[in-house]
């Protein structure tokens, strides 16, 4: 039923769906470019991101495409290398929160009862708490490091996956095909694994890309506030904060480029997520 619905959705070229597909494609191109930058940073970047590459604070030129920072390092090279930490942190954090949030949501929604109410209450409280502040609290206790940033960000996004999975499970478990499976003698574990979980996959993928977009902004925020890397490691959020003291003197290139990359990458994932939700969640958009 779901699959057939989906197929008609994909193969029937009406305008909104074409728009959804275009959004996914545009997002994927952006993400692919950033991934390419991260993987081949050693080859693409013209200079070592941590070494002197020209006169300090020189504006963009043929030698330094995006200018140099206050220590004479090449901003372009730092922007390329800066993609590495953000991608690593955000991907691993999202995978961790997904693999915690989805099973808990599935079990909680499937069995219901007191346990479900207790877990839901905890998750809802966490969800209500401002995510960046939660991440700051965790990062401050654990101390600034890349691994701790992954921990902090993954904790923050567990409730997102939990709520979505739980909600879907609640509506799926009363559907006819689940009842049929139960009548045929399938156990709880089998029903969850074989009948409910496959129907969650598309939603999980949509939520994954949307929450990655959000997680990128959280990572950049933490990094901007100094909770992820220390000098001289290049990271967009961190580089943006290093450029901040030079803003009043008009050295715009130290700020514009690393910050714009944060937006572009977040935009890439947001486009994928929005486009997918348009393609796979009929009725949400008209």
């Amino acid at each position: 039923m779901q699959v057939k619905n989906l197929a008609t959705k994909i193969f029937r070229p009406i305008i909104p769906e074409a728009e959804g597909r275009n959004m996914v494609i545009a997002g994927m191109i952006i993400v692919a470019i950033v991934l390419f930058m991260a993987i081949f940073a050693d080859i693409i970047s013209p200079y070592d991101p941590t070494k002197l590459a020209g006169k300090p604070l020189s504006p963009p030129s043929a030698q330094n495409l995006m200018g140099t920072d206050n220590l004479g390092r090449d901003v372009f090279s730092r922007v390329i290398y800066g993609s590495r930490i953000v991608l690593m942190v955000v991907f691993s954090a999202s995978l961790v929160s997904m693999s915690i949030g989805v099973p808990i949501g599935l079990i909680s929604g499937y069995f219901g009862g007191k346990l479900d109410r207790a877990i839901s209450m905890i998750m809802d409280s966490m969800y209500a708490f401002p995510s960046l502040i939660l991440a700051i609290a965790i990062a401050a206790v654990l101390g600034p490091s890349v691994v701790n940033a992954v921990v902090a960000i993954s904790v923050v996004y567990v409730p997102t996956y939990f709520r979505m999975t739980r909600g879907q499970t609640l509506s799926l478990k009363s559907r006819l095909f689940v009842e049929a499976a139960r009548a045929a003698g399938a156990g709880n574990l089998r029903i969850m694994r074989r009948y409910i979980f496959p129907n969650l996959v598309t939603t999980v993928i949509v939520v994954f890309s949307l929450s990655i977009a959000d997680a990128i902004l959280t990572e950049a925020g933490l990094s901007f506030l100094g909770f992820i890397v220390t000098a001289p490691t290049p990271d967009w959020g961190f580089d943006l904060s290093s450029g901040r003291p030079y803003l009043p003197s008009g050295y715009w290139w130290m700020i514009t480029f690393p910050g714009a990359m944060v937006m572009i990458l977040a935009l890439g994932f947001a486009l994928i997520g929005e486009g997918l939700s348009e393609l796979y969640a009929p009725g949400r958009e008209r």
Binding site: I15, E19, M121, I122, D124, S125, M126, A128, F129, P130, S131, L132, I133, L134, I136, A137, I138, A140, V141, L142, G143, A213, L217, A220, G221, F224, L225, G237, L240, S241, G243, R244, L247, P248, G250, W252, I255, T256, P258, G259, A260, V262, M263, A266, L267, A270, L271, E274, R284, E285, R286
Partner: protein
Amino acid sequence: MASLKAYIATRALLVIPTVIILLTLVFFILRILPGDPIASMVGQKVPPEVLEKLREEAGLNKPLIVQYVDYIFNIIHGDFGRSMIWGKRPVLSEIMDRFPATLELTIFGFIISVILGVITGSVAAFRRGSKLDASMRVYSIIAYSLFIPWFGMVLQMIFGVYFDILPIGGRISPGMEPERITSLYVLDSIITLNFKALSASLIHLFLPSLTLGIVLSGAYTRLVRNNLIDVLSQDYITAYRSRGVKNMKIVRHAMKNAFIPVITLMGLQFAILLAGAVLTETTFSWPGMGTFLLERIQYRDYNSVQGAIVFYALFVALISLVVDVIYALIDPRIRY
């Protein structure tokens, strides 16, 4: 009306478990997570005796369960402990010095985001399927993806440095502060009819609240658009149309119904607004709660850090209660 009162009372009682869960969460993060908060805040270079003394000062050397009971008990009594630096003032009064700045910023940011969201969303809904609709959608996704510090700094570079017409930081020009009544500078200067202070504080508020407002408006654009389209396609609107009711009147009816879900979003957005305010405050050197929290993390003032986070938790719980009550007042279906 009796049922409304009952609803509000039930909802108010339900805040208690939420608050306790949030407080426990904060306790868990600050005291049970692996890693010694004091050590990781102070760094490795401090002799063990000093660490021990700091731990004692923060009450971290007692058994966990005693710490937990003390912690909850003190918060119920409004005792957030004393700051561990400088004058060792009570944390709560330090927070009260900083909170109005955040409140002022978030209120203005909130107003701007709602206004922008309603305008863009309605334009998209009434011109559904047009180029304008598509560009509003692009606007909402881009607004959502903006990185607050970067966007704020871009505005600073344009209006503060290049055109040099707006200040790039601070809450008001030094010495211009209005008499303190509510500590919300805009409100205070209106009450005291101090127009110099009013214009100075509005000028300082403009860029930070615009930054916050634009970034958060994207979510409203989508919601307003989708709700309006929903409502506009309903039978009673068609009935109005067929009877020749004027467009403006239809819009008024449609808007009212389209707004109910928007209010729920406002509640959720408030948490995002507070998180966004941390970054906005840092970007614009705004002396609010966010900069307070970060500054105290840097000074390793454990009690203040805990106090600030607890305060955020309480504030979020309060806002969700207020939103639910507003919701019940507007939508009669919600009462039970």
